[in-house]
Every structure is written in structure tokens, then in C-alpha cells.
């Protein structure tokens, strides 16, 4: 297996992602990264996000439209997407989970799940 190196670029990408809970896009990470490594390229950001994904250090969130978003928390957890402001929130990791009965109703062997809610966040409700 190909050995992986920790580079300044990779470290910065990972640090930026871990220092926020906003589930940013690659573009946003790129903008932030340029503040610390002005010559970094968008391709490098994408490449390192891919490597971090392979190492299961981070999670990728796709919402079909637009860009992927990334999450520095690799532990399984649910997300709430505000349809008004677009922000993505985490469900509390110590909150309730989808029941076993739902999983056993699946037409096959379940290896992982994805659960998301869409609606209006508390900020936008006020």
C-alpha cells in the first residue's frame, strides 16, 4: 500500500475542517486555506479531502444540488438542513437514534445509514 505523507497542505485542510461545525464546501476550505498557504490550489484541497475521506478522518455530505460539504467529525451522526439559510446542523450525538426495527426491515444486510431532516432552523423561525 502506498505510504501517505502528512504535508502542510493536508494538515491545514484538516485543521480548517475540524475547527468549524459549519460543514463547509471545498471552495470555502480553499478560501480559508489560502490565508495560511496563499499558493495552495483548489485541486490540492480536493485531493487532500479525498485522502482524508479514504482514511475515514472526515465525512462527505452530498445534497445533490451544488457542492459537496465536508464534516470533520467522522462519527456517525444525523444532520438537519435549514431550507431557508442553508446551514447544516448536527443532531446531538447523545440524542435518540433510529430504531433497530427500521434497520431490520431493510431488504438486505445494512452496513451504514444516512438520516437527515430538512426544515427551518430555530434561528430562522424567530
Amino acid at each position: 500500500m502506498k505510504q501517505k505523507r502528512m504535508t502542510k497542505q493536508k494538515a491545514v485542510v484538516y485543521e480548517i475542517l475540524c475547527s468549524t461545525d459549519t460543514h463547509p464546501t471545498a471552495d470555502w476550505i480553499y478560501e480559508q486555506a489560502r490565508k495560511r498557504i496563499p499558493e495552495i490550489s483548489l485541486g490540492t484541497v480536493y485531493r487532500n479531502l479525498q485522502v482524508l475521506l479514504e482514511d475515514k478522518k472526515i465525512i462527505e455530505l452530498n445534497y445533490g444540488k451544488g457542492q459537496s460539504r465536508f464534516d470533520g467529525n467522522p462519527n456517525p451522526h444525523y444532520h438537519f438542513v435549514c431550507e431557508k439559510c442553508g446551514r447544516i446542523y448536527d443532531f446531538a450525538q447523545d440524542g435518540p437514534w433510529v430504531g433497530e426495527d427500521v434497520l431490520t426491515a431493510a431488504p438486505g444486510m445494512v452496513k451504514s445509514c444516512r438520516f437527515e431532516c430538512y426544515g427551518i432552523c430555530r434561528d430562522c423561525l424567530d
Copy 2:
């Protein structure tokens, strides 16, 4: 509000989508549609899928990578994605549902949800 017309193309796209439970891609629908309207264009398929989505007649399923898939059943239901063969299955609509407790744990007002399981389907397990 702009009035919408029912065209041969739109009807065919909808009929094709409703006549299968394979959650096809726009490309597949296009191939099928050409059997009935040889001169139909891919753009028209995409456009009509968009219109049907707006009318909430169908559902779009994105899995990030690759093409979107479409579902002629607009009622809320869960999906199971086989990671081996790529097929997408429906959960039984009379099966168990994600508990209310999970929904009330959301950081906002929930309007819709998405729940998917990934794993190996029964066909591929044999």
C-alpha cells in the same frame, strides 16, 4: 403563475418513471423514451423531470457520485442501496418508521426527512 401544458414528451417521461421501481437515471429514461419518441432530446427529459419535481409528482434521489435517480412514487419512503450491484430498493411503506423522538431532537422545525441504508442486498448475499 405560468400555465403548464401537457405534452407528449412530458407524459411519456412520467409514464416510464411510474412503470418501473428501479429508480432510474435520466439517461435510462431518455433511452426508454426514445423508443416511443425517437426525436426526443435529453434536455427535454431533464426539463420535464424538473417540472414533475416542482409539481411533487416524483422524487429525486442523489447519491453524490454519478447521476441522479428518480422515483415515480412521491410518498415518503426509505431506500436501501446495494453497494455491490448498485440497485436501489424501497423499504415497505407499511414497515416501521423512524421514531418521533428522533424528529423532535432536531434543532428546528422538521418538514421532511431522508433515511437510507447502505449494504448488501439479498440477491447479492446469496
